[in-house]
Amino acid sequence: MIRHIDAGIANKILNIDNNYQLALLDGFNDLFKKEPLEVSRNIFLIKTDGQVIWRIYSKNDKFGDSFTNIYEKDGKFKAYRWDGGQYDIDIETGLATPEILIR
């Protein structure tokens, strides 16, 4: 279980507020050991000291595709996944819900 993330290893950081950040790690990061169910959950909500609050999860994790971007859109947090899909991120729970195939 990953309990701490050093923001310095993240591909991208989004500041949620003064205390929390959304961290996107590269799916090829050694942390994930190329395990599909690890690779596919490569977004974390962390406190500014690196403590992991939650790790993203979705019904499509089993396919092993990592996320390649996180961003804000229309006031909500989104993630783009290798499978071509845009996912909506529930910032409270870490649930990523498939929205649309943007390819």
């Binding site: 591909n11 090829f28 396919f63 990592s66 989104k78 499978d83 899909g85 498939p98 390819r103």
Partner: protein, 186 residues
């Protein structure tokens, strides 16, 4: 080289960027390819492939290619009336990818010639994208990468009621820095 390639000694290696692998390939609705069957490559295809650096070419149905997307809850990306070709690159090949700032690195791409000279609006229509691309990136696909190629399905919800151009799809993930030279679309 598998049996398909060995049936024609003229199948050479070519950068897929310049090939007409899909544009000249018949849809073969009556073919015996089926799902996952390695079929002989027709003389027309062999001639077009001359100089192509790909191997293990096989045809699958669009239904099979679309299956994994349907399972994920997505629309089908491949036109159901056509076949999809799977192959493996033998040498590094170059593609391009139209995208927004949200989706730089992803599995879908096209040959440079496919969208050469097109405006962003034209690319949107031709590739049946849900939003207008703002940027284009070059993509370096390593040797030994599994891919597939086929005709883009109609996407009426995105204002593209007819089937679109030819898209290539990576069947395995490649490093993010293989997407490079990102520049704005004019």
């Amino acid at each position: 080289m598998n049996q398909v390639a060995s049936q024609s000694t003229q199948v050479e290696a070519t950068v897929v960027k310049n090939s007409t692998l899909t544009s000249k390939m018949p849809s073969n609705p009556g073919s015996q390819a089926g799902s996952g069957v390695t079929k002989p490559v027709s003389p027309e295809i062999i001639n077009e492939l001359s100089g192509t650096q790909i191997t293990n070419v096989k045809a699958i149905s669009a239904a099979d290619a679309n299956k994994s997307f349907i399972e994920r809850g997505w629309n089908a990306p491949y036109d159901s009336s056509t076949q999809v070709r799977q192959f493996t690159t033998v040498k590094e090949v170059e593609f391009v990818r139209g995208h927004t700032e949200s989706n730089v690195a992803g599995q879908f791409m096209v040959r440079a010639d496919e969208i050469k000279g097109m405006t962003a609006q034209q690319i949107l229509q031709h590739l049946a994208l849900p939003s207008i691309p703002t940027h284009i990136s070059d993509v370096k696909v390593p040797a030994g990468t599994k891919m597939q190629v086929g005709t883009i399905a109609p996407q009426p919800l995105f204002g593209a009621p007819n089937k679109g151009g030819t898209q290539y799809q990576l069947l395995q993930q490649i490093p993010l820095n293989n997407f490079y030279n990102t520049r704005p679309l004019k």
